[in-house]
Amino acid sequence: MSNDNTQRTVTVSIQRFDPDVDKKPHMQDYQVEMTKGMTILDALHEIKTHQDGSVTYRRSCRHGICGSCAMLINGRNTLACKTPLIDEVGHKNRVTLGPLPYLPIIKDMVVDRTTFWEQYLRVKPWLIPPDDIPEKEFRMSKEEVNALHDAESCIMCGACYSSCTVIGLNKHYVGPHALLKAFMRVMDPRDEAPGQRLADLDGADGVYRCHTVFNCIDACPKGLNPTQAIETLRKLAQKRKKFETTRRKRQQHLHEPIPAK
């Protein structure tokens, strides 16, 4: 644990870029009085409200649940609101901030996430339920719920997407965030069309474009594992038919209690 008590002035070096005015991005330094427990987001707030109102970034929840504030901090993607300043400044008393890489910059730390959301939409993130809807809830076992744990905790912050080397090269690739979502739907016993979903992802811009770079795992501020989801989807894609049949069988019991073990 870092010593939180050291109050000192630190340098926050921010990549600035407003395409309306600037030809290319440049770095600008700000001095911030570090207080106890200050996060990177607090430091940005201090700069924006007291020093330079034009420093621009997204934020909302302040505690790592809304996914707005993902940015590049000292060369790593993470959430500004969940990163203590003191952990990043080191003995140089300096932290470098920039926008998520590989995405067009709108202004300073704000990036254009159009492709990110398009890819999310492409995997049809909604559940496709069976025709036969019970009066009460579908029955799901604890194990089935646990399998969706990771995918369901994803806050769509894009840290994974914009750390992925393949995304850097090729925007056709659907991306780890969307594949994690797809995984969630494919694995959900209530989903009617896992076969179709797998078929849709079975192309050159789907699960096979991932080169197992693992950056997505390293970047994810929620500690999720998109790579594992992708590997699972790859394997399932090869036995779609069988998987579809298993699902059909499982769906016949969706209205019934899970048998006791």
């Binding site: 393949v166 090729n170 925007k171 079975d202 050159a204 080169h211």
Partner: protein, 108 residues
């Protein structure tokens, strides 16, 4: 059938063949010359092994190159054409390589 699968399977095949190849051909004190190779290739089993090796290495190399190229955004849209190009190169190289292996025979 997916490029990805081709590449993974050929990689597994290569693990096997390449190890053999490295040991029997490239590992000292083996001295590469026509006669030395001929000694081995006289055996049709070795001929088959080498042809399979050739096949897997070509599949792996060409799918690999294809992946590297189609990873680039702009090339991605031409991937059909690139796949055909790779297939053609593969066939030519395979014929050429197979002829080479065939060439190691005792003069009749």
């Amino acid at each position: 059938m997916r490029v990805f699968q081709l590449q993974r399977w050929s990689a597994i095949a290569l693990l096997f063949f390449l190890t053999i190849h490295m040991i029997v051909v490239h590992y000292p004190p083996f001295h590469i010359n026509f006669d030395n190779i001929l000694v081995r290739l006289e055996n049709p089993v070795w001929k088959v092994i080498d042809i399979l090796f050739l096949l897997s290495v070509l599949v792996h190399a060409l799918t690999g190159a294809y992946q590297v190229i189609t990873d680039v955004d702009r090339a991605f849209d031409y991937r059909k054409g690139l796949a055909w190009a790779a297939a053609v190169i593969g066939v030519v190289a395979f014929v050429y390589g197979a002829a080479t292996i065939w060439a190691f025979q005792l003069p009749v």
